[in-house]
Symmetry: C2
Subunit: 320 residues, 2 copies
């Protein structure tokens, strides 16, 4: 990382930090934020964390997650902004309004599609998760790891590589995870918190599995979750995180898509690929982001329109 | 391991090996067998591998798995038997007929409930999988690891700790996995092979999730798969491996049970626990085996009778 020395001296020189990450927060996003927050606090810094979204209940176990602010609650006391795990600046939503011309903005990310925004970039596309980068950063800053930091980093890593099942899992990914467990991270407690479901969610899953459609060539599979289905079972949109993997793990399928209706926010599209299909290209085409094997985008249109556009684009990419 | 020196010299002194493991073979069972087989072949030994059961198609990718023999096909050329991953001798089924008084039988296992059968025991209850023990054994024997051995060991470890999500996942578990990836194991290919499903299996899952029952205190959840359901969807009993985790991951549930009707073999019961409930005790009571957090047993009776007995026993254990 050519900018690392500059980044470290910048971080060391500032006292008051604003940390943020993308909307629709996930395990890597929140784990990275909480690990970096804890590390900076240990160095005697002042830290505010903000996300323009609510934090899913599954991640309430992360130390510090209760202190995440909505953008409008952030006070003016910050000299530097750090944006984590966000491929482009618009992914932080209304937190963009807190960006100031005269203070540096650091862009720390592992997405191949990162646009390179910000004053300093620390992008490592080889990292399975932004949490891997944060781990190294904390070591470089001389932060002593503890069980809370270890749990946050393990959470970020494990959730972004599907608990060490995706192609982004490297020896380094597993070695850092091993070190986090030796520092007190408890894989079963983290997995329990992140993957725990309720009977209504399992009933929802049962219904969603019944919705599976597969393209005639067997290479694309997709799932549909509309608001009516969610409401009828008393489930929340974030309860469906991970459902996409059922489509991904169908024999012969190369691209899996989940179409999810989110109240007042249109259609959220998640895509997962196996092998060589680059879903970040598909996502970027529709103004979204991600990396080769996992990406997403959003639509303001109706479900059927979003489906038609996305599936057509994927078919077109296959033909190239 | 106090017997390790004796074990190593015993293995080094023999030329012709018979390896076996428990019926209802799983990832650890097969991964351990294939890794040990490959290692012994590298040392110039002759090796036969036998299991008294068919090998699930999901594990066909393991190098050497095509050479696994049914017990009746084993020829008489073996000077030593090694039994892997089996808590008691009856777990190897008809392979018991191949045990001879005058040749040593080695018992290598990680189950807490291991009965200590055999002439030499190498039991490590701290190991997440028998494959962890095999890894160490191959190092001790001076075997150079290659990508096939690495894949076999990774498969054994990953499948027995739920891809690093169960409480048995230690820093050592993750470190060995990291080393296996650096030796060429591909987590995504292994996960794809092991977890890949077909649309009929997902339809089956959809139906099984609809069968979930939870005890009135919310601590026990169980799933039922009868032969009619399996046949109507064209699915096999082994397609339902892992379904039990849906019951295990219900908020508040401490013991999950899967009751599965296996053609001509009665009812197979799998149990998973979180926290402190020891399901190996329940399994042992019914002549089965396993470890604290994952165990199983079988019944020759009807489904309803098996359910009644197992659920009553679990309730009784809770009261203690």
């Amino acid at each position: 990382m050519k900018n690392k020395a500059a980044l470290l001296s910048l971080l060391q020189g500032k006292m008051s930090f604003l940390l943020t990450a993308h909307i629709f927060p996930d395990g890597d996003n929140l784990g990275s934020l909480m690990a970096l927050r804890a590390g900076l606090l240990k160095l005697g810094k002042r830290v505010q964390v903000t996300i323009d979204d609510s934090v899913p209940a599954a991640y309430a176990f992360l130390e510090g997650s209760q202190s995440i602010l909505r953008p409008e609650m952030v006070n003016n006391d910050y000299e530097i902004i750090i944006v984590l795990d966000s491929s482009s600046i618009d992914r932080i939503g209304a937190v963009q309004n807190l960006v100031k011309q005269n203070i540096p903005m650091i862009n720390i990310d592992h997405h191949i599609s990162n646009t390179g925004f910000g004053t300093v970039q620390y992008i490592d596309e080889q990292a399975a998760a932004t949490a891997e980068i944060i781990y190294q950063l904390l070591l470089d800053l001389g932060v002593a790891l503890d069980d809370n930091i270890a749990a946050a980093i393990f959470t970020g890593i494990a959730t972004d590589c599907g608990f060490f099942r995706y192609a982004n899992t490297t020896p380094r990914t597993l070695s850092i995870a091993a070190e986090m467990v030796s520092h007190g991270a408890k894989p079963h407690e983290i997995s329990d918190a992140v993957e725990m479901r309720t009977v209504p969610v399992l009933k929802l899953l049962s219904r969603v599995l019944d919705s599976i459609e597969v393209s005639s060539n067997g290479k694309i599979a997709w799932l549909t979750i509309d608001q009516t289905l969610l409401s009828s079972l008393g489930a929340n949109p974030e309860d469906t995180d991970g459902f996409i993997n059922y489509a991904r793990y169908i024999r012969g399928v190369e691209v899996a898509v989940l179409f999810r209706e989110v109240p007042d926010r249109g259609i959220k599209v998640s895509m997962r690929s196996r092998n060589n299909f680059d879903v970040s290209k598909t996502a970027l085409h529709f103004g979204g982001g991600g990396h080769k094997l996992a990406a997403g985008c959003s639509f303001d249109t109706q479900m059927e329109d979003a489906k038609e556009q996305v599936l057509a684009k994927i078919r077109e990419q296959f033909e190239k």
